[in-house]
């Protein structure tokens, strides 16, 4: 992230998976920074799966959800499956009420579920995840 101030997003590596936790609401610039950072790191760590944890967010605007969708698409192009986890009930409902398009990004309840979807910590994305990813293409 930025060189100054505390990190707003932590990107951790676990095996072939990246876990990105967003700690606080990000503005548009920060969101773009996060996107660049993550897409960059996917190649660096040869990641096969990405979990983006948004549990700390109590609001997700249209730019935010579009960026998340873009990240998932870019990650796919870089060879990694993406799953977004921890969307709060209120956030989920607001997103659909406002008609935000989240595309075909996979979602899961929490980090544990997200990792299970990707095929367990450290492992390869499960066949199911890859099959679904391929199906979407």
């Amino acid at each position: 992230m930025t060189d100054t101030g505390p990190a707003l997003v932590s990107i951790l590596r676990q095996g072939s998976q990246l876990i990105a936790s967003i700690h606080t609401a990000l503005d548009d610039t920060q969101m773009v920074r996060f996107q660049q950072d993550l897409v960059h790191q996917i190649g660096e760590h040869r990641a096969r799966g990405v979990v983006i944890d948004v549990a700390a967010l109590d609001v997700l605007d249209s730019f935010g959800s579009r960026t998340l969708r873009d990240i998932a698409e870019m990650a796919r192009l870089r060879g990694a499956a993406t799953v977004i986890v921890g969307i709060q009930p209120e956030v989920a409902f607001t997103m659909v009420t406002l008609g935000m398009d989240t595309g075909s990004v996979h979602t899961a309840l929490d980090l544990e579920e997200g990792l299970a979807y990707l095929g367990g910590a450290g492992g390869q994305p499960s066949t199911a995840a890859r099959a679904r990813s391929a199906q979407r293409r």
Partner: protein, 296 residues
């Protein structure tokens, strides 16, 4: 007397003087002829077929209290006691099925009966009659108004209370198996209920860590466009939280409605009945159900 009098200062002064003399006279008259006027009133109530859901004894008892309260308000000029009584009366008669027009009707009849008796009493002195009516009418209107408002208030309170309890009962989110929720919808789904249902479902998904939700709408008689769209959004929102939704029990009518109004149903996973929905949900979750004796 009341706020509207403050506008016309001169008249108000006159009125007050008149009232001070006339109202006690009026009250004395109504007390004196209490049983005759009350009977006349009861007769009029019967003729108009009001309060038909109550027995004659009940009508007798209530009309006596209403009459006494009425006269008391004329005497004291304070509607507080009447308000109290009207609320209490409403509480008693609403469950009996007494309608608003009946309550308003009987009070207006009483107003009429008493006014007529005043006509008779003062018919020789037209000027005095006029002034008596001037004193009587605002008070009588106020009484009619008070009773009607109290009744409607009480009725609304009952309706609100019932609505609340229906709402509380109407959208149960039930855990069936590990990570499987079932949400039976029974009764008419209006927009408010649909909103509440979504809220409870999303919260339920979080609490029970649900992966699959079966929404069964067998018990919903009708679904309009707004509610259908709401259902679609609920499915989307559940998906965002990582749960997949299976909708079961779409009636032929609802299926026709949904297709006719053109709701986007492409993301809806529907299965004919609840049994099928549960089987599919179990399959998604990796459960297999076998009979204990091993037979298929």
């Amino acid at each position: 007397m009341n706020e509207s009098d403050t506008g016309a200062v001169e008249f108000a002064a006159l009125d007050r003087e008149d009232e001070e003399q006339l109202l006690p006279q009026l009250v004395a008259h109504l007390r004196e002829h209490r049983s005759r006027l009350r009977q006349e009133w009861s007769g009029r109530i019967q003729d108009s077929h009001l309060l038909s859901s109550m027995t004659p004894q009940e009508v007798g008892a209530e009309t006596t209290s209403v009459y006494d309260n009425y006269v008391e308000v004329l005497e004291t000029g304070s509607v507080e006691a009447l308000q109290h009584y009207a609320r209490d009366l409403s509480e008693r008669i609403i469950p009996r099925g007494v309608e608003t027009h009946e309550v308003v009707g009987i009070v207006l009849l009483l107003r009429d009966v008493l006014a007529r008796s005043l006509f008779e009493k003062y018919q020789d002195d037209f000027d005095l009659l006029n002034r008596v009516l001037d004193a009587y009418e605002p008070a009588a209107n106020r009484i009619a108004n008070t009773v009607a408002v109290s009744f409607v208030d009480e009725r609304e309170r009952v309706i609100r209370q019932q609505q609340d309890s229906i709402r509380e009962l109407s959208t149960p989110v039930l855990p069936v198996r590990e990570r499987l929720l079932i949400l039976p919808i029974i009764g008419v789904l209006d927009t408010e209920r649909a909103r509440q249902l979504t809220e409870q479902l999303l919260r339920g998904i979080r609490t029970h860590r649900a992966k699959v939700v079966v929404i069964d709408i067998t018990g919903a008689p009708d679904v309009d466009e707004a509610v259908a769209n709401h259902l679609v959004r609920t499915v989307d929102a559940s998906r965002l939280m990582g749960a997949s939704v299976i909708i079961t029990g779409l009636s032929p009518e609802i299926a026709q409605t949904l297709v006719t109004i053109g709701v986007d149903l492409s993301k809806m996973n529907t299965i004919g009945d609840l049994q099928g929905g549960l089987e599919e949900a179990e399959r998604l979750l990796g459960f297999t159900v076998t009979r204990a004796d091993g037979s298929p």
